[in-house]
């Protein structure tokens, strides 16, 4: 009996010790892997990192590392797809069947809002952080506003009727749909607010962040899409009569706009800073890629995926007007791979002779054929979202729309001069005679200078070329994919179907 008593006593003791060691607070285990959200957004450094994470969205596949080029370049009449991946190709020719198609639609939508969420976090949290220098705080907020505006600008171009989300999200948010006009207004507001706190130029370590000029460039684009020509002129005056005067110039060699060799040059108004330092994937993991996949997807067959290529009419467009010295416009040499490239300029294609069909062409801009014979997912060339040549052509277009056609011409001439073309007054006097004729000339000048630079879809929309069946059929002569184009429908993408189904506040775009 005594033995039993001792046993029970010692057992109870053991249990007590054990239970005490297992106090209930042991159930709270700190996550040793990473910061919690509650610990973050406290310091200036946190603010800077939060902002940088928003920049990192440029590297995501739905945006500027891959698929957005399919929407902007291939859907337009400049590009098309002969991809054996039929569904992928269908999404460049207005055959939208499954609106949930990830690569064609959903990933770009997802990454757009992912980027906006990152901007919104900065905009919600940074004002609450104490900064030694309040100007720095304002600059961070202004950059986030610029980036948010940039993403809404492209969302407006692609889907038009998108929800506007302006605060850091909660899981159960089901935001309301906005009209295109409301989205444009939000972009204008963000840009206007951003401009006040952004510098004219950045110091060397911060080159690549948006300047007042970058803001004005996007503001002008936003206003021009709405055909608010007066306001657009005011926005662009910055470069010619405002603080931005003499801050920008065309680089002497056209090709320096597309390689990794002369990035952030005098022609650059805003560019995405790509790098090949990381070789990881495109998720949010360590070593995530900071590179552009575009050349791997756009390189000719057997070099890259060749999911996108250029329409052949572009080659002919370059050859319409010989240079002053009687040669071929050198911009062609750095814009396209085409059958006569070797004959015309002596350049091979990734070290190869032309081995493709005689009516085919590919985009050479941003390719790395200038120093290697293949491609991969890690192109490091910065992507120039706005360069000064575009500003000049935009300004000319705006002035022409305001009936200042003769004032407009010299800005076009600057661009032409670099390509060794005579001024418009000499080469195309008729173009100066009417607003319409000048507009038609601008259309040509823009495609020769900017083709393959993701501006064509906005151009076609702005020019009204997609608004009537008659005009669309003209576009279709250059790009037969437009034979599938239904006026009033395909001018915007369908919203991802699951978004519409899972958010009762959204209505699918018309006719879809």
């Amino acid at each position: 009996m005594k033995k039993i008593f001792y046993t029970i006593a010692s057992l109870s003791l053991m249990l007590c010790i054990f239970l005490n060691s297992c106090k209930e607070d042991i159930l709270t285990i700190e996550n040793p892997n990473t910061l919690t959200e509650a610990e973050f957004w406290k310091t200036e450094d946190d603010a800077q990192k939060g902002l940088n994470a928003a920049y990192a969205m440029f590297y995501k596949p739905g945006l500027w590392s891959r698929w957005i080029y399919f929407r902007l370049d291939l859907t337009s009449d400049e590009g098309y797809s002969k991809s054996p991946w039929i569904e992928l190709a269908d999404w460049t020719r207005f055959q939208y069947i499954n609106y949930n198609f990830w690569e064609g639609n959903v990933v770009t939508w997802r990454d757009t809002y992912k980027a906006i969420f990152r901007c919104n976090q900065v905009l919600d949290k940074v004002p609450g952080i104490t900064f030694a220098d309040p100007a720095k705080q304002k600059q961070i907020v202004a950059q986030a506003k610029f980036l948010r505006a940039l993403h809404y600008y492209h969302a407006a171009l692609l889907w038009e009727n998108v929800p506007i989300v302006l605060n850091a999200s909660k899981p159960d948010d089901q935001p309301k749909q906005s009209t295109l006009a409301e989205v444009w207004a939000q972009v204008e507001k963000d840009l206007t607010e951003a401009e006040a706190d952004l510098p004219v130029t950045w110091d060397a370590p911060n080159v690549g962040r948006p300047t007042k000029g970058a803001v004005r460039g996007y503001l002008a684009r936003t206003l021009m899409q709405q055909r608010k020509w007066n306001e657009a002129k005011t926005a662009l005056d910055y470069f010619f009569t405002g603080q931005g005067k003499d801050k920008y110039s065309l680089v002497s060699k056209f090709r320096d706009n597309f390689t990794a060799d002369l990035e952030n040059n005098s022609e650059s108004v805003f560019e995405i800073q790509f790098s090949d330092v990381n070789k990881g994937g495109d998720g949010d993991d360590p070593n995530a890629t900071m590179s552009n996949n575009r050349p791997q997807f756009f390189a000719p067959r057997s070099i890259g995926w060749s999911d996108g290529q250029a329409r052949f009419w572009l080659v002919n467009a370059f050859k319409e007007e010989p240079t002053l010295s009687g040669g071929i416009d050198e911009r062609l040499r750095y814009t396209l791979f085409y059958p006569d490239l070797t004959k015309d300029f002596g350049d091979k294609i990734y070290g190869r002779n032309w081995e493709w069909d005689n009516n085919e062409a590919w985009f050479k801009k941003y390719s790395r054929d200038y120093y290697r014979n293949n491609e991969d997912y890690f192109a490091q060339n910065n992507y120039r979202l706005i360069r000064y040549a575009d500003i000049l052509l935009m300004y000319a277009e705006v002035l022409n729309e305001l009936s200042l056609t003769t004032t407009a011409a010299p800005y076009v001439d600057l661009v032409r001069a670099r390509a060794n073309h005579a001024p418009l007054a000499t080469a195309y006097p008729a173009a100066l005679l009417s607003k319409d004729a000048f507009r038609e000339r601008i259309k040509k000048e823009r495609v020769l200078e900017l083709c393959g630079e993701s501006v064509r879809w906005a151009d076609l929309k702005r020019w009204g070329d997609l608004e009537t069946a008659a005009k669309v059929s003209q576009v279709a002569q250059r790009d037969p994919d437009f034979n599938n184009f239904v006026v009033g429908k395909h001018i915007r993408l369908p919203l991802p179907q699951d978004e519409v189904l899972n958010n009762p506040n959204l209505v699918q775009n018309p006719l879809y």
Binding site: T34, G50, K114, S169, D498
Partner: protein, 1021 residues
Amino acid sequence: MNVSLFLQSKGGNRSWHPTKDNQSNIRVSWTMLLILFQLFINLIAGAQQLTSVSGTVTDVKGEKLIGVSVKVKGTNRGGSTDSNGRYSLNAVDANSTLVFTYVGFSTLEVPVNGRSRVDVKLQDQTTELSQVVVVGYGTQQKKDLTGAVSVVKSADIQKRQATTVAEAMQGLASGVNIRGGGQPGSEAQIQIRGLKNLSNTNPLYVIDGMITTANRDFNPNDIESLQILKDASAAAIYGSRAANGVIIITTKQGKEGPMKVDFSGKSSIQTIPRYDLAGTEEFSRLNFMAYDNAGATRQNLNTEINTNWQDEAFRTGNIQDYNLSFSGGSKNGGYMVSTNYYGNKGTVIDTKFDRLSFRVNTRGSKGIFSIGENLAISNAKADEMSGNPIIDVVRLLPTIPVFDPANPGGYGYGSESRARTFGTNPVAIADLEDRTNENLRIRGNIWSELGILKSLKYRLNVGYETSNDHYNYLRKKGNWTLNQPADPTIVNENRAGSSNALIENTLTFNKQFQKHKVTLLAGQTYQNQKYQQIWGTKRNLVPNSNGSYYTQLDQGNEPQTGGFIQKAILLSYLGRAEYSFADKYLLNAVFRRDGTSRLNEKNQWGNFPSFSAAWRLSEEPFFKNSLVNDLKLRASWGKLGSSNIGYWDYLATINNFSTIAMGQDQHIEAGATQVKLVNNDLRWETLAQTNIGLDASLLQNRFSFSAEYFIADTKDVLTGMPIALTTGNDGGNPLVNAASLKNSGFEFSGTYRQHKKDLDFSVTANLTTLKNKVTNLGYGRSKIFVGNTVTELGQPIGMWYVLETDGLFQTPEEVNDYKNEQGKIIQPNAKPGDIRFKDNNGDGQITNADKSVVAKSNPDYQLGLNFNVSFKRVSFNMDWFGAFGSTIFNGPRSVTDRFDDNSNYRAGIQPWTPENPDTSVPRAYYGSTLNSRGDTDRWLEDGSFLRLKYVSLAYALPASTIKRVGLANASISLSAQNILTFTKYTGLDPEFSNGSIYEKGYDFGAFPNVRMISLGLQLGF
């Protein structure tokens, strides 16, 4: 008489024990004395005719049973069988009856009738009502169960050739649905009583008291018993982790007696089911047709080549499974040592799985103290599959050669001019990508028990499991698909370790007061789980001289590393009260309180009670029925929980991994932000389950059955419910206590057995029906759309939601006549041979708005049938399994039956042509997805099937033969698995698994169950 009874109960049993060697002389003389005494008593008691009786006790297969207790009925006299299964009793009344009892077997009573030799066969009783069932922190007899528990015979598991326990269980228990892997080393999915949540269906495994998983590291040959706790009252003792059911496994222990050596060896060959695909002649004819119809220039197909990609990617696999065990013990202890090698060469090239495992189970006792341990060590290594050959063999064209020296790496694949496909060459990817996964696992527990009082027992159970995991990935140089980027060589290696520690203290009180039987259990447990991984990657490896590379991480450049930790703790208090009165009225109450580290502080604790009762009508005096031997009604209600979620899902974290290039020098700066949204106030998911059951045994126990009806309501289901992408969330949908689900079902399991002289016959059938309904969805939703499914309130999860097809247009007139009410032509661009879709919303065009719910994906009922016949030394066994009423989306057929994109075609496919209009396949048309869109009912098929899962013929060698070579028993068997299936499904296998909760019925090219033929040998020494 009383005197002799008293004396015998003091020492008689022990002294009658036949293990002669270890009996002391004193005990032998005790025995002599007792026999004399007994004789004397018998003599004076009257005129009895005495005889001596001897014989052999075997099981139905003729295997000798050692240690069977043999008693003379009505006395305490008796003995037990020796190592040859023999017994002999002296001075037995010639008219008495012998009672044979043995653990795990039915008790048998045989009248002596004056014979001197009585040989008996004992019936294995594992499906009978009187068996002992492990119910978690204790055992109960099946007749005393008040909850729903299924018991699977270990022999039924071990007879099949399977990597994991789960795979071997299909069709053996009602209410349990298993979908197995098929690939070497792959693990099966188990679903007990339907989808009760939206995250995970795997049950909790308890192996010898250790809470763990019976993954591929676990050797199924070690199983002694397996029980499945299905309802809330049975599973409630495991509280918060029991919502998906609990599978309790007890491993083999050494039994009293001299050492037994058992060897079993199985050798199997495996084949994979195949598609019937076009060869070059048929392919090129159809391909040209598709191009011609589209007005496209034909591709320059290489018709010289006729590659059968299935021959290239698939092969005959095999399995070698050898098991050797040693066991034995004495009254006070036992040991069991087993070792197993399991090797599987996969049916897909370059895949294999190897497992070496080792187990030692021992136990011992002295006085009131006993102690034991179970320890298993295993090393498993899988050479994993790269790509998905099940789809690759369909996507590649027969005109593509396997090898093509012109391509980097030397393999053939698509070409722009000759074969426009991005299909992956399975031979290339198998060679160019190497993945191996190796785990060394040590799993075991030590327990000790102290019988403090006769009725009070304290038990301490300390379990520990640790693993050492090693994953290796090598990417060699070369391509496997058209236009692939120039990837450098890459090596990625990760090393990880896990640990799982469990400490349990339980006190059990057990007492019988006359007709009242009470068992009380109280306990406290603590479990700590941890996983830690580090990884590294390098590129541009140095080639070695034999065509591969130096793959150590020292080599190469562009290093990347990473690592992370996961930790969780569960703290619990538990209690159970069992009460029975006269074996008639049974009551059972369970309570468990669990605290988890996986939820935030406010919501960490959850309470999980359950109550159950049973009434054995057959014990009532008014119930006198010669047909019915046993009849019991059961009812239970209980609450279970689930926090089957990630480690810190309630905690919003900052992702520090972004980097950006910035500045004139393009330097790198760090970024940090919240990527994944989080719901901080996550709570326990709770499941309330009601179960009504009936157990009966009829016709002298020849027929027994159990029937159950259950209703399970899950509330606050923790799920990553899809949220709007406009939130900007990434990294998976945040968990939320969103939905409520209701499952109800009926389960029946019945066995009929007959024993006639040399013939034994038994048949078991089990039937499961299941209804699943969503009663509430989170975020105020009424529907969730995932892929081609919709999940709606009041409906089962994952209904098929697609466009409806309505045959093909035969003429241009039919196209023009197909109008809506306003007279608008619905498909104006259609041509004869195109699919006619139903314009369900009548708006005159075909859009996503025309989609409708057309079918559910889960089966209405499933059926398992097991037949056993044995005649003398030959036994025949058959297991059937079927599921009926399901609808499957045939993903591979949506590839083989499309003409818009280049992939191989189904052999014999007849696309519509003006000459051949009588077909359901639309015209072949290259380059437009319209006729082959993936979101239509064209790909839905009846998924019902009935399958012969297992069939075997076994022969036990006659004792006279094997004795000469020193064997105690020997048998050989020939068996086959999955060799016969009745189904209308045209895919490879209707019995596949898809990990997505919403798309369970979507066959994405899932790995099929392989066919197998095995030869087995079993030897006992």
